[in-house]
Amino acid sequence: MPLPYSVVDPSVLEQSARDAAKTLVELDRDVFDHADTESHTYKATPGLSEKLVREISKQKNEPSWMLDIRLRGLHAFLDTPVPEWGPDLSALKFDDIIYYARPDAKGNATNWDDVPSEIKKTFDRLGIPQAEQKYLAGAGAQYDSDVVYHKIRDDLAAKGVIFEDMDVALHKYPDLVKEYFMTKCIPVTDHKFIMLHAAVWSGGTFIYVPKHVHVDLPLQAYFRMNAKRGGQFEHTLIIVEEGAQLHYIEGCFTKGTLVQSNPDYKPIEDIKIGDKVMTDSGEYKNVYNTQVIPYSGDLYTIETYGDSTQRMEVTAGHPILSVKRLKKRDRNKQWKKSWMIPKYLNKLDYLTIPINKTIISNSTRKYSITHGVGRHKPKKYEINVPLSKDFFRLIGYYLAEGSVSGNEGDHYVNFSFNENERAYIEDVKQLLKTVFGYEKAIETQTPNNHGTNVVVSSVDLAQVFKEFGKGAPNKVIPHWAMLEDPEKQKQLLSSLFHGDGNFYSKQHKSGYKETFRISTTSEKLARQAREILLRVKIPAFLNKQKRVSPRKPMYTVGVTGEYMSRFGEMVGIPVSNKMNGKNRASMFYIDDDFLYVPIKRITKKEVRDIPVYDISVEDLHTYVAAGVTVHNCSAPQYSANSLHAGCVEIFVKKNARMRYSSVENWSKNTYNLNTKRAMVDENSLMEWVSAQTGSGVTMLYPCSVLKGEGAKADHISIAVAGKNQFQDTGAKVYHLAPRTTSIIRAKSISKDGGVNTFRGHVKVNKSADECKVSVKCDALQMDLLSVSNTYPFMKILNSQTDVAHEATVGKIDSSQLFYLMSRGLDEEQAMQLIVQGFIENIVKELPLEYAVELNRLIALEMESHSA
């Protein structure tokens, strides 16, 4: 049975990452200083030599046995010819490659201008902010990213899980590393590129999961790799002890820096979970508009103080930018943000709501007016309305007290006040003059409710005010006004308050209780008022009161505690900082970027196969969105160097389970010659999930050695080959013990002349009785230029083996294409949908965030197909 993906730990060891980084920096500095005084000239130069290999080992202060490994690797490499059975590697010039770049040394960064435009374009298409793009391309300073997962790290450490940078692990756990490093799984002399790897490896990850420990969220490389970029010869060593479980995801960096680096790019949507805010306001864009992915696992529901109208639902692996509460009774004094998964969030911890800081201020706005109905031909013209503070004050009055009416079309604007509200009546009349030059406003009385109406008979004004909603429940602040200068918006808030608000002050047993409130039946207006208040640094709560039908629910935006003085100042009602002899206090906190709101309730439930992402789960009225910030996982990893020769060694001990997932998208100039292998013991399970896009040439065949009775391997993969790309991928399984099982499922997509080659290599030993082998590979060719090759290689030496093999090569089916087009999809959309369907059963094996990413990535690849 496959591991449900949510059962594993995305998480992080910030402290350990930091320790690791620190140690590394210290180590390096040591070396640097040394180097500086001694030679002063060490620079990474292209080419490979014994001198370089010794230098690397020396700089890393490695034990002599590691230097021996490196030298053995080097000499074997120099004596071994380049393999010729696979894709053409003749263009690979070993002498041009920089094999070792000193970490953190100045001058390693790529010049942003040198990054190919194709890569930049893809970054843009994936919606990655430029600062992040530069980082991904190795051209920017690293973030001081607050990717903090203290809690997870502590949890893991308490269970004895080791999650370290490979270089650090070598020093901290020399015995463990020595036992497993390129010894029992992938020997130094395995093949040409492993020899090279052994000689120059640097960086990577070391994971040790002790007996019977289940790491229950995917452990992702980026959680700790944020300190430095993984190198091109990184070494991953994973040991999963007896009865333990792990899901590891490779290849991501700096999760979560986006929010801080770009306040307009908001994972807030999924934090606030933006059912209505996200979709209705138009304020925030939902980047993942078309993705629906089934999800099984824990679903968390989080409610916060300050907004009783919404709750958010998030999947177990979904990181949320939050602040840990330090003292139960007191509001935090420090606001250190970190990414948390819901499991580690408690009641009263703070969630963050980013403040929209975009300001687009204009001095006038054009309104198109249509004048005249009935027998006359309508006149059409434009008027310019000054976007002054006065106009905004008038908007506020309209939102609170205004209406637009007329028998045929809109002729009248009406502001209804209480007859005592003389000052506001006069203010409105004055504003009509200053803003519109309109002097003919008349007052009418409605004696039965002591009302006074200011009536404006003007088609122009009626059509202007119509933009702010007709009828109380439909009142709305248009998008442009939401982005206007906060100083103007203050005027709007002020008059909105004078019209629809009150200052609630009442003696309670415990003393006075005071609140500024704005009440409206327009839910949207209430949310917008709250949002604008954030722009002027006033946190407000939002409440919904149900009322007896047919009365509509009432929404109240309220300001309490320490923020009252700020609000009071705005609306002209002075409020002292103290109440009942004490400073006014608030449970909320606001700074330049965020509002911090405490969690009121957090609950979880288990769900099966529910569609999540941008689909609303009906009856809950919420959206479940996944991590916006993980997109850098699938972003192309650009390196000026053209060779990636990583090595992954995995040991899955008796009764253990391991899943290794990767989405690799190296830039097209790269030769990705990666080696991954797992030793699988008795009754244990190894699962490989891989997706290959990018790279000029890929050679990757994850391998499982089933050496214990009853061991099982499950390989699933997707490869996409486009123009000038050779994806030579596959799977290798060795059945060394009886009753072992292997399942290989591969999908490949070739387009624009791209070449996919699948190699399924399965060997069953003579002594391995009753094994099961199943290989299924499906290839999809998008056009006649593209190539799909399948080379199954099975060596079955035991006659009791149950073998199933199936390979299909399909072309885009013209009847499918026509069918989809007849429903309105253009050719490109139709192809995308067919491809999406083709890989669906593999995509759904990936964790939610990755599935979404992969779909987008492939959609992007398909786009360039028709371009």
Partner: protein, 254 residues
């Protein structure tokens, strides 16, 4: 001018060297709100006409024209015809693995909208149409037409029709493969949709089973690529009793 105007349509199929004429001068008018039946024996060219209207690339129009609201329909690509409001319910719809019916429906709706349909709105509409056509939730969660029975395929086609709300629908043998109960539900569903949206319908059928539920105001008989007889509903009743023989003979002798 009729909303759909087919004039002297000649259509061939096959490779260049061995092309065969299937339609030999068909002329037909359909207006918004009309229900028109096209009946004929097997191989008379009914489905060819349906495919040509939808823009299937394998059919070659050698003569004649089709105007849709005055525009040259034949110059439009299949997706443009769809977006312009034309819908073809296929006799044999293609299967698309890995794409659920609901995902497909949403994609198809979004393809014709400038802003994507809101999920909640989509879900609501889908629920409404599913209940109209008595479609089971399980069906929309399955992959598009994959492993569907004949009846399920037709149900899925008409569900798409209901969701996409076209101005004109060409229904190619919607009654084949469906059992009596399903036919009733689908037929009544189509009628309801046609009435409420003023949709024009070209019903292509072999029998008059479906005509009990979707009653045409005009009936045309197509034999060997030509319309040999046109009339009212009574024509369909005539065929029910006597079959197409008399028309085939008439064609031969003509």
């Amino acid at each position: 001018m009729a909303d759909i105007e087919i004039r002297d349509l000649h259509v061939e199929v096959g490779e260049k060297s061995s092309r065969k004429e299937i339609l030999s001068g068909v002329s037909l008018d359909i207006n918004q709100g009309d229900i028109v039946a096209l009946m004929g024996p097997n191989g008379s060219g009914k489905s060819t006409l349906a495919y040509v209207l939808a823009g299937h690339p394998s059919y070659h129009v050698t003569r004649g024209s089709v105007r849709f609201h005055g525009k040259d329909l034949l110059a439009m690509k299949p997706h443009e015809r769809s977006r312009a409001g034309l819908f073809l319910s296929f006799q044999y719809p293609a299967e698309v693995s890995g794409v659920t019916v609901s995902n497909f429906l949403r994609t198809a709706m979004n393809a014709r909208l400038s802003t994507p349909v809101k999920i909640a709105d989509f879900a609501k509409l889908l629920k409404e149409k599913m209940s109209l056509l008595k479609v089971d939730q399980k069906l929309v969660n399955r992959y598009l037409n994959e492993g569907f029975s004949g009846g399920e395929k037709k149900r899925c086609e008409i569900l798409q029709l209901a969701m996409l709300q076209p101005q004109f629908a060409v229904l190619d043998e919607t009654d084949s493969g469906t059992d009596v109960d399903a036919l009733k539900v689908l037929g009544e569903g189509i009628s309801t949709i046609a009435r409420s949206t003023k949709m024009g319908v070209l019903l292509i059928t072999h029998y008059n089973r479906i005509l009990q539920y979707v009653k045409p105001s005009r009936v045309h008989i197509l034999v060997n690529g030509k319309i040999v007889k046109s009339g009212g509903f009574e024509l369909a009743e005539h065929i029910e009793k006597h079959g197409f023989d008399s028309f085939i003979n008439a064609e031969v002798s003509a």
